[in-house]
Symmetry: C2
Amino acid sequence: MNRVINNPGLVVDDMLKGVLAAYPQLEAAAANPRVIKRTCAPIAGKVGIVTGGGAGHEPAFLGYVGENLVDAVAIGEILSSPTANSFFEAFCAADGGKGIACLYGNYAGDAMNVSMALKMAELAGIRVRTVVANDDVASAPKGKEAERRGVAGELLMLKTASACASLGGSLDDVIAIAQKTIDHTRSIGIGLKPFVIPAVGKANFRIGDGKMSIGVGLRGEPGIRLDDVVSADEMASLMVDAVVTDLPFPPGKRVAVLLTGLGATPLMEQYILYASVTRYLGEAGLTVAVPLIGNFFTSLEMTGVALSVLLLDEELERYMKHPCASIGLKQT
Amino acid sequence: MNRVINNPGLVVDDMLKGVLAAYPQLEAAAANPRVIKRTCAPIAGKVGIVTGGGAGHEPAFLGYVGENLVDAVAIGEILSSPTANSFFEAFCAADGGKGIACLYGNYAGDAMNVSMALKMAELAGIRVRTVVANDDVASAPKGKEAERRGVAGELLMLKTASACASLGGSLDDVIAIAQKTIDHTRSIGIGLKPFVIPAVGKANFRIGDGKMSIGVGLRGEPGIRLDDVVSADEMASLMVDAVVTDLPFPPGKRVAVLLTGLGATPLMEQYILYASVTRYLGEAGLTVAVPLIGNFFTSLEMTGVALSVLLLDEELERYMKHPCASIGLKQT
């Protein structure tokens, strides 16, 4: 096992030690080491932004706790949901008296635990509303959007909603922005080599040599088909096509593009793909106003890429461009 | 070949198309597509900062062209030196009339091409001085520092020298800061799985399963020994030991730490390693004033990590913390 770990069962705890050692602006919630918050949180009079999910997607999610971004994050085991208690304690850590927006991805475990945490919050008198990311076009057909997984597009929702909260938005405003963002975001991934969960020790899914899994999920969920690997340009064509045909993306509009590596795909290859993505979007009449290219949302050391496209309006573009600072995303 | 590329022989050109499509603040030099410069360069009255090297280390080197960072970069083929002409045209692109600091790594090809470019610059009346990074302790024994390779520590030299130039330093000042930085930086890498050069199609070196190559070079140069993989904590111990014993790092001093993944090692594992690195540095009486953790300097999709430690004084710490913005490094 060619890894940089100590105990395969303790990778999340060991990672958090490193994160907390590096950044004094982050701390664990007093009651729960699996909640990481901004040291300055809660911020009185600001809507608190909370997210959470399984570990192994770093820098998602803990890497988006920061200035003008997320206030507190609940952290699960590798690729599995945080506990209800962790979500609840993240609410407490982020509660500045103006309500909490809990923004998370559409997975059964997360939904169940958030649901329990909401009941705990109600008893504690903390007002929480939720938005669920469901941006992955490959995970359910058009018309069944509510069944789709949340993937990298979730970051775009965190970005805009957090900017809205930082600029003084009410809980209703923040929730509306988060919902509008995810409603206008479509994503698709291509997996080229699987990952291995350290505590498992072998891949629990297969992508053969020379094959690509189109529509692969961030937890290794199988894609919609397994094809021979094609060129980056052909990958871009099929990814852009899958995304822009799923929602009206009217010609003349501006978009934000998030192109993330899934872990082991070099940045070089991500830029090779981006060159074609931006060309195909251009052919569809779309202008990229906000490009984000890099390892923003990974699946351990999976080889592959994912594309998310957000249809912007003036408001969303402003929020996307708002300055922020965190491990995973810094903008001036 | 599970890659996101078009033509294996054109990966660098194709990458540059993506980079230029994404960032209007970067452009190719008019005369040479293998020189990327800030759109605003040359900046009159500022010492120009130039670097260069082989591609495949992204975000190094082109990812460090930016605000308060590098003005122009010469880009070679995968893991091979840029041409003399590219170095020369990078000098021209960065020449604001106050001289050029050309900062690069200690490789025979780069040294030869920079040497030729210096002659071209002399004829063109551009004043250029150089500093050569030689931070890799594994590549030659103590006492033979001039034979050592430049590795990730080169980024620290770019950072401080660029800050000095941006704050109005003369060419002498900038060169002195670059030299002081690299003289006080020591690095070591551990490789866990090799990379494959796309145009070659198979790894040209081997690291067996369950093995680690201590002191591996960024171009796959063999390390000083091939051992069984140990825990992250033991890796940290041997890396910190190799680095801090090579230079006086007096207890009570502050250091900058650059912990880079080599391509395919997840950010999670980098933080696991960092937790132990900072602890062992603490045991040596050293305080980490500047932590940089992430994929800053890679070797395609090599699995592994590299550690660079810079002994700070007040001046170097100030330059390390100076704000900057580029693809690979953003600080506010």
